[in-house]
């Protein structure tokens, strides 16, 4: 090995050893703290869900949602081979129709099949990459009356998790921001009382996602936290569009 190569390798190897040591330490700390962090996150989510439900309403377990479209390769090579029951395969073929490079969800869905499909995707542990990640069915006297959708929005500090309660006609009933890494000032605005009022009662494309769709007072209230507002608004709109698609009110 000549001198020039050695001079290149030596610092690279040393930097690699520092990185390897750092990775080991981080792995150990993560192992020690992961259960407690999960516990804290779940406790916060439970509190948020309690605030969202009304008297007489019951929430289902968290279900994974069916995507509106799945890539052809993923559907045929990863999803279908994992299904053992013929009924489940039949259900999937009933609602997912092949297109050029994907399978698209055929909407509207029969109410009973909505829950069945969600249960199937939950059993398959399917991670939806669309904004709508999870769902709690809201039932009153065994009848489905609304959805609590867990939606991912993109904020200033990365991904935010938002719970949105939507009636079956896609109208926003309530929403709450949960896990996020926004700055204290942005967070304070998004958690202020009445912040979600601008979305309540609206559905689909009428949900404001840009400041020009807001009244002057509403725009002033989100000023300085525009990225947070747009992230939350787009997530809520995606949730409403999902319900409209599934329920056939597009």
């Amino acid at each position: 090995m000549n001198q020039a190569l050695r001079e290149l390798f030596k610092p690279a190897l040393r930097l690699f050893s520092i990185c390897a040591l750092a990775a080991l330490v981080l792995g150990a700390v993560f192992e020690l703290t992961k259960d407690m962090i999960l516990h804290n996150q779940q406790a916060e989510e439970r509190q948020a869900l309690q605030r969202l439900t009304q008297d007489g309403e019951k929430l289902s377990e968290r279900l994974k949602v069916m995507p509106l479209a799945i890539g052809k390769a993923e559907f045929e090579e990863q999803l279908l081979p994992r299904i053992s029951s013929d009924k489940a395969r039949e259900l999937l073929h009933k609602y997912y129709l092949p297109e050029i490079d994907s399978y698209r969800l055929r909407t509207p869905l029969v109410v009973e099949d909505i829950q069945k499909l969600m249960q199937l995707f939950t059993e398959l542990d399917f991670e939806n990459r669309e904004p709508v990640r999870g769902c709690y069915l809201v039932k009153q006297e065994q009848e489905l009356i609304a959805y609590v959708l867990e939606v991912a929005g993109s904020g200033f500090g990365g991904e935010m998790k938002i719970f949105v309660v939507l009636t079956r006609d896609g109208k926003v009933r309530q929403a709450v921001l949960t896990q996020n890494r926004e700055s204290p000032a942005q967070r304070k605005k998004a958690e202020a009382e009445g912040y979600m009022d601008k979305f309540i009662g609206r559905r689909g494309m009428s949900i404001p996602t840009i400041k020009s769709m807001l009244t002057q007072a509403e725009a002033d209230a989100v000023s300085g936290a525009s990225v947070t507002f747009m992230g939350i608004a787009q997530a809520i709109r995606a949730a409403s569009l999902w319900v409209l698609a599934v329920e056939g009110n597009e």
Binding site: P11, V29, T33, S183
Partner: protein
């Protein structure tokens, strides 16, 4: 004596916020409440201490060519450790500080002390430097937060304490709580306040010199009077 000097320089003469003007981004953002400032100060001090120790220990091992990436890896690792520990044991504080905890990685004070001090000095000196700078940063951040929160919100937020009026950790200041001076909560108010405090810190050497001069004059007069009195007694 040298150790004490190493420690105290970060608090007064080389205060990172008021004298060196480093780490202003978290200072502006987090200094809206006293409790946030204390949390951020403690977290930054921990990262500063650990990174200074490791960089001082590894100064002979880290090659000159890759020193900055190495420092960043070390600092980022400790920041991640702090972030995970906060999420596990201080969930509410972690939520409150939000994105600013991961951003400690790019706090200029930490990289600045690694480059300017830790990689040239012994471990003990690096520890004292980190503690001094950390305490200086925490005090500065807390002072700014105390003034901003008191004037801008009419409250002072501590930890919840079993003291009447502080059970929820918030002390309300009569008068200010109903009519606060809102500009102090805004970033512009923070800049204004930092400017005023920086001006005060700039004046400190002058005030100190004047004070010493006055003291000397008083002592001189006293000793002259004593000598005169002694002379009178002699007569």
């Amino acid at each position: 004596m040298k150790g004490l000097k190493e420690f105290t320089k970060g608090i007064l003469h080389e205060n990172p916020t008021f004298v060196i003007i480093l780490g202003l981004c978290p200072t502006l953002a987090v200094s809206t409440k006293l409790i946030f400032a204390l949390g951020m100060g403690v977290a930054a001090t921990f990262v500063l201490l650990c990174s200074n120790v490791f960089i001082s220990l590894l100064k002979g091992y880290i090659p000159e060519k890759v020193r900055i990436p190495s420092y960043i890896v070390i600092i980022a690792s400790f920041v991640t450790v702090v972030d995970l520990l906060m999420q596990a044991f201080a969930w509410e504080l972690s939520k409150s500080l939000g994105v600013f905890v991961p951003l400690i990685v790019v706090n200029c004070i930490i990289l600045g002390r690694a480059e300017a001090f830790a990689n040239k000095n012994t471990v003990s000196a690096a520890i004292l430097d980190a503690l001094g700078m950390g305490v200086g940063f925490t005090l500065a951040l807390s002072l700014i937060a105390l003034i901003r929160e008191a004037l801008g919100g009419g409250t002072i937020t501590f930890l919840a304490l079993p003291i009447p009026g502080l059970e929820d950790g918030v002390l309300e200041l009569p008068g200010l709580v109903t009519s606060p001076i809102a500009i102090f909560v805004a970033p512009a108010g923070a800049l204004l306040l930092i400017g005023l405090l920086k001006g005060f810190f700039n004046l400190l050497p002058e005030i100190k010199a004047k004070f010493e001069h006055t003291l000397k004059r008083v002592f001189k007069r006293t000793s002259q009077t004593e000598e005169m009195l002694k002379g009178d007694e002699g007569l």
